[in-house]
Amino acid sequence: MKCTECQMENIEGALFCEECGAKLESRQELVEAAEAAGGAQLILATPDGNKLDIPAKDEVVIGREDPISDVFPDLDLTNFGGMEKGVSRRHAVLHRAGADYTLEDMGSTNGTYVNKKKIQPHAPQTIKAGDEVRFGKLSLAVRAA
């Protein structure tokens, strides 16, 4: 099985890439699961397994709540270490059009990453089950709901 990050060939059944440590299998499995579910709704999950439901809206603001500045994002990452991990108050927006999702960085201080690659501010990027998104230093897995 080939690592999607570094293209190294690993033995069938390995869980992490010998060369770069990237998680193997899960991405493919999740893509397949999402496809099988016919483009079902997505959720985000922290590395320790906490699931964050994405509100059923066409535009979901992701960030860190700050009542003083009157900022109340749709998806508040404060309780997941948002402050310590450099999540901006209005960090990114998740757009939904039917079964398609795109993620747009709102000019955040510490950037938004999809599969370890930084995305340009205000340039929406498609995301799907199996991807990894990172807001500042807060990593979340994209999964099928």
Partner: protein, 416 residues
């Protein structure tokens, strides 16, 4: 005899996909003392091997004396203790004796002044001799080695002594204070003897580490712990890791053809021991397949038990159902991830040491991502700082290297 040892064997996957090739699978062997086991009933045979070199003068020496005072106050009268001090000369300050002459031991130590250089092997040799005098199979036999400096051209001898100690069931806990010591040597001393290693950043923490060691020794609930894995024909164990007291690759001394034979020393009743076995399983027909059997044996002197044995079989089911075969056990996955982070870090440091800056940077970047995913922000930031150091100076910092070496080895301790 029930409940004296709880052994849980969990496979990374209950089901494997039918393939034409062999595939990797992991077995986690989790060993805990049963609920009826009491702590503190196993006698200790303990040598303190302490650095008195010139650089120990001041705060380090004062804190070390206080910590030794704590140790002798908290050992029982039937425990054996000895104290060896070394610089470039060695002196057995307190020969092996029951730990009841507490004031005498403390008074002898109070007279010690810092002087000279650092020759660890002489201290280790003398400490080993003292532990051997009181050696008994039903005791916790251990050496505590404390140093703040680099030893002079006797690393090889230190490692041979550690290996000799390990073979005799004498674990060496190595401790380095400050930044000017060789972490590679102290870690190898611990690994070769199935012991632990600690980095003491600040002399004030010496007492805490000594306390932890005494408590750990008193929490030993089983000794002569051994894991034997007898694999089915065609199943090849390839790597074996232990995770307590720190992650260590024990493959070289544990994998013997189709078997795993690992002597693990003593079982800390509070933490237990977890072993990870990575193996290759040959292609099979659909159905349930016995991968092998794990046998855990130990002695429990406090219970008057010798040769306690618990056996557990390892099974997987071969299936054509990809969805069933895709399910991974989360607990084993987490353990494999931590071991993988440790491996990446180790390889990065090896590459850096060999001057392969690009390869070291790449491995450290991967390690930083993994550590971040594990929620280890501090360690991930340390890795990122070391990447910058590599890019700027072509070398790692002493502080960052120690943080990564010790931090990744102790990743499995945080969850306990």
């Amino acid at each position: 005899m029930k409940n004296e040892l709880n052994v849980r064997c969990v496979m990374s996957k209950d089901a494997l996909l039918l393939t034409e090739t062999e595939q990797a699978v992991y077995a986690m062997v989790d060993i805990k003392a049963g609920s009826r086991i009491g702590f503190g009933a196993t006698g200790a045979n303990f040598a303190l091997v302490l650095d008195r070199s010139g650089s120990m003068d001041g705060e380090k020496m004062d804190n070390m004396k206080e910590a030794v005072g704590y140790v002798v106050d908290h050992l029982s009268d039937r425990d054996l203790v000895s104290v060896v001090i070394f610089d470039d000369q060695v002196e057995t300050l307190i020969p092996s004796q029951p730990a009841k002459n507490r004031d005498e031991i403390k008074a002898s130590l109070a007279k010690v002044i810092a002087r000279g250089g650092t020759q660890i092997s002489d201290g280790l040799k003398a400490g080993l001799e003292e532990v051997k005098k009181g050696y008994a199979k039903d005791r916790v036999n251990r050496i505590l080695l404390l140093t703040d400096g680099r030893t002079w051209d006797d690393e090889e001898l230190c490692l041979r002594l550690a290996e000799e100690a390990g073979k005799q069931g004498i674990a060496v806990t190595s401790m380095g204070i400050g930044e000017e010591w060789n972490e590679k040597l102290l870690l190898q001393i611990a690994e070769k003897s199935s012991g632990d290693s600690h980095w003491i950043e600040n002399p004030i923490s010496i007492l805490d580490v000594f306390k932890g060691e005494v408590e750990g020794m008193q929490a030993v609930s089983a000794i002569n712990l051994k894991v034997v894995g007898r694999m089915n024909q065609g199943v090849k164990p390839v790597r074996v890791y232990v995770t307590s007291p720190m992650i260590a690759d024990v493959s070289i001394k544990s994998v013997m053809g189709g078997s795993v034979i690992a002597g693990l020393g003593s079982l800390d009743g509070r933490k237990g021991q977890t072993m990870l076995i990575e193996m290759r399983v040959p292609k099979q027909k659909a159905g349930k397949y016995r991968v092998g059997q794990i046998e855990v044996t130990c002695d429990m002197p406090s219970q008057g038990i010798a040769g306690q044995s618990v056996k557990s079989d390892l099974f997987v089911t071969f299936t054509a159902d990809a969805a069933v075969a895709a399910k991974v056990n989360a607990e084993v996955m987490n353990l494999v991830e931590k071991v993988s982070a440790f491996k990446l870090q180790t390889r990065a440091l090896t590459e850096a040491e060999a001057g392969n800056i690009a390869a070291a940077t790449q491995k450290l970047e991967a390690a930083a991502t993994m550590l971040l995913n594990l929620g280890e922000q501090d360690l991930a930031e340390t890795a990122e700082r070391e990447i910058l150091s590599l890019k700027k100076t072509g070398a790692l910092t002493a502080l960052g290297t120690k943080k990564l070496e010790y931090g990744t080895r102790k990743l499995t301790q945080a969850i306990r």
